[in-house]
Point group: C3
Chain length 352, copies 3
């Protein structure tokens, strides 16, 4: 597809303000892991624990910390944070072709939608009434931009993204395929009838969704729109795949969530939080700034201070686990029996 890109190592050093050690004339044409990189590729060592991997590496150059560099026989680039430096350099080798401005003839665009001339609208996209697509925005194939939605400048909807209604994306937002943003929140009122039965009445979802600049939304992730007010993601929030964000949730800036996490309605999550894969947060709770939730933990009460929180029980061979799990059903009883024993021993003690 794309023309192979090559950079001199000293050129990379200068561009990313990194100290160069070794042969600056070396040409770098891609990246690789320490184990697989060839002499034309750049690799990185982010964690000194893996320092022994430097020896066997055939990488043309390695990005690493100064104190690891002494163990590196070949060319290297010194970085305070090698993973950050590597991420920036590697972006040069991303072969994703640049999108061509313009609207594909198969796209269907409402008369009163506004699409900037510098935006790129892919095949079979549908842009509905009142929608706005800002400068440099890229919509891959099969995106649906619903009524009154807005896609900010330089945002990219990779393919098959659905913005349902009243969704506003900031600048440089990246959304992966299958994501659905702005569907109805799950609002229901149970109307009891005379016979004490009844059925569900839908509560109309009149709010929208606001997504800040530099957010990333994973594949098949869903973010519902608010019931009355908006569901909000502040800037630089990063959501992995298959995450569920219910209506009226508010997520603070720079918070990241791993795959399959879920947040129930009206929860408020702070800034700089790390939510592990499959973790859950119940509705109407508050989670402070700087909180880490480990994978699969369920947050059942508000968290008022930064720190790491967990729930769950450890994996065991099933036969052992079954015995322990069976005892859990009587844990309260067990605790009471221990208390009774303690009391008994104490009373004996005092008698003797």
């Amino acid at each position: 597809m794309s023309t192979p890109t090559r950079y001199r190592l000293d050129e990379l050093a200068a561009r990313f303000k990194l100290e160069l050690r070794g042969d600056g004339a070396r040409m770098i044409a891609g990246v690789g892991t320490l184990a697989t990189a060839t002499s034309g590729q750049l690799s990185f060592l982010a964690n000194s624990r893996y320092r022994t991997q430097l020896d066997g590496s055939h990488a043309g150059a390695i990005v690493l910390r100064a104190d690891d560099a002494v163990h590196c026989a070949g060319a290297c680039l010194i970085a305070a944070d090698p993973y950050v430096a590597f991420a920036k350099i590697a972006a040069l080798f991303d072969p994703t072709p640049a999108a061509v401005p313009g609207v594909h003839p198969s796209a269907v665009i409402a008369a009163d939608a506004r699409v900037d001339a510098s935006a790129s609208i892919g095949p079979h996209c549908v842009i509905e009434a009142g929608a706005i697509i800002d400068s440099g925005a890229v919509l891959g194939p099969h995106c649906v931009i619903g009524v009154d939605c807005a896609v900010g400048a330089q945002s990219r909807l990779v393919a098959r993204v659905t913005l349902v209604t009243r969704v506003t994306l900031g600048k440089r937002v990246l959304v992966h395929p299958g994501a659905v943003i702005g569907a109805d929140g799950f609002g229901l009122a149970f109307e009891r009838d005379a016979s004490d039965h009844g059925g569900w009445i839908k509560v109309p979802q009149l709010g929208g969704v606001r997504i800040g600049d530099d957010c990333e939304i994973g594949a098949n992730t869903t973010i519902d729109r608010g019931a009355i007010e908006d569901t909000v993601l502040e800037e630089d929030v990063r959501l992995d795949n298959q995450i569920q964000i219910a209506h009226n949730v508010h997520i603070g800036a720079h918070t990241a969530m791993a795959g399959c996490a879920a947040v129930a309605g009206s929860a408020k999550i702070g800034r700089y939080c790390l939510i592990g894969g499959g973790a859950g947060i119940l509705g109407h709770l508050n989670v402070a700034d700087g909180v880490t939730i480990t994978a699969r933990a369920l947050v059942t009460h508000s968290i008022h201070s930064a720190g790491e929180y967990s729930s769950g029980v450890p994996l065991q061979e099933s036969r052992q686990w079954r015995r322990n799990a069976a005892r859990f059903k009587h844990l309260d009883d067990l605790a009471r029996r221990v208390q009774a024993i303690e009391k008994e021993l104490e009373s004996k003690e005092s008698k003797s």
Copy 2:
């Protein structure tokens, strides 16, 4: 988009059969929360615990219970169930534009599919052989209606809904984007070979899916079709986003499930159940009518009577949690030791 709608408060009272207190001439043009509603908006108080919020509210009118009304200085509407009344009134202010009957020219419709003249078929929809779209049904952009599927009257598929094959939707069914109904159930038979290895043989999934009237299916939810017989949702079942319903599941009327819940094959769930977010139900189990499952609980045995059921352990600061979790691995041993102590004390008792 839409013309702003306004109603006199006494008009709303009459329409929804609610008692009016205060200025009936007041014009209501929308809804808001107690905290944010303006003088032209209606709000509601469903839970008397939040009664103190009445004081600070600038809402033009408030829907509430009679015993809360005495604490309300302004105009109000008295309702036995304020949340139900609010839901009905708020629907008046839903700006979703009405769909226009007719078929968008970019839609692809099989020659022998039947599409009612009053139905609305959006851009890029695909309707395959033998499919039926009934009167007043609305298919938003990018819906795929597979072979031998039927969409009942007044149903609405918001956008990008896939009905794979042999799926029947009742009347007034609402399906959100990304939902996939009628994909193959996960049926596999393992064929062992001579060397005691082998591979998987696919079990064809010959059943369908039947969805009752007034059901709602959330974004990116999946409902597989049955292996031999059908997967069934009775009327008024409400499923949130990212729910997984396996083949041959049967869900009773008026049951609601929150986001990310999952039901394994051939489970039978009763009527009027409430299944919490991320809860799971194992295959071939029965769950009685009126059962509530709390968030993230895993149902591992059939439930024969109404009530609330839970599993899981509480969230803790990770350092504390790790200590407790480590002990869980030896809980059976701990219980045995307590039994031994009790025996020892008892035998001493009898000796003394």
Copy 3:
């Protein structure tokens, strides 16, 4: 849709090399369960425990084991593995219409993509630059095949499948609607700024996804592409719906995963594993061949030998559960107290 298919029972016996008992001239036109099959349908008994169901069955013929056959009054086919035999016979009655080779006029295909003349490309498909669609492959409506992706011979993408970039599917791969394969892995580096705050830097995801022959990928399942190297599924891997496979995961041949399972980055899962519904596997772990993980268990450490593994606590009536769960928060303390009691009793013992 399809012409009804009928087979003589002795014809089925010969075709699948099964021993026939009873009337071989009987015509079979479909399949059913023991409870519902009619005299023109074939049923099966895979588990001898349900042998009593043979009595009431009206099935025209039953596939079963030799030792169950003596209890069967009617016609039957004897199979070493009745479920496998049934799966193969039932496939004859699958009414899914064969796809017609050719490209639907609404499909959009890049000039340099290669589509075999025997492939079938459905309405509104988009095939991007450098993509290859091999012989006999079927793309249902709304599939997107991204840059440099390849779909192997006889593979079938049912509808609305997205292959994002650098994805290679082997032969006879079956992918269900809503699946997204090859989206960016969730790679982020946190760049701390001078004030000890900062933000996320995206790590470009330069690898691809390789899916082996005979794999099946469920509806709305997501499989991310690798960061540097590829995410890999070996042959005959079977994934149910809504599964999340992170970047650089490697799954061994013949492993099957039930709905909503999730595997974090760089985990390596062996061959012939069975991963239960909603189970999770943390990043960078190894799971040996032949491991079974029960539903909802979380794998938090590598597993080095075949066997069955579990985690979680049992479902209980919520009132009881709450008492036990509260005690879990102090389980370490309880264990210490039991140790103290044991010590006390021991010291008394030694004194007396």
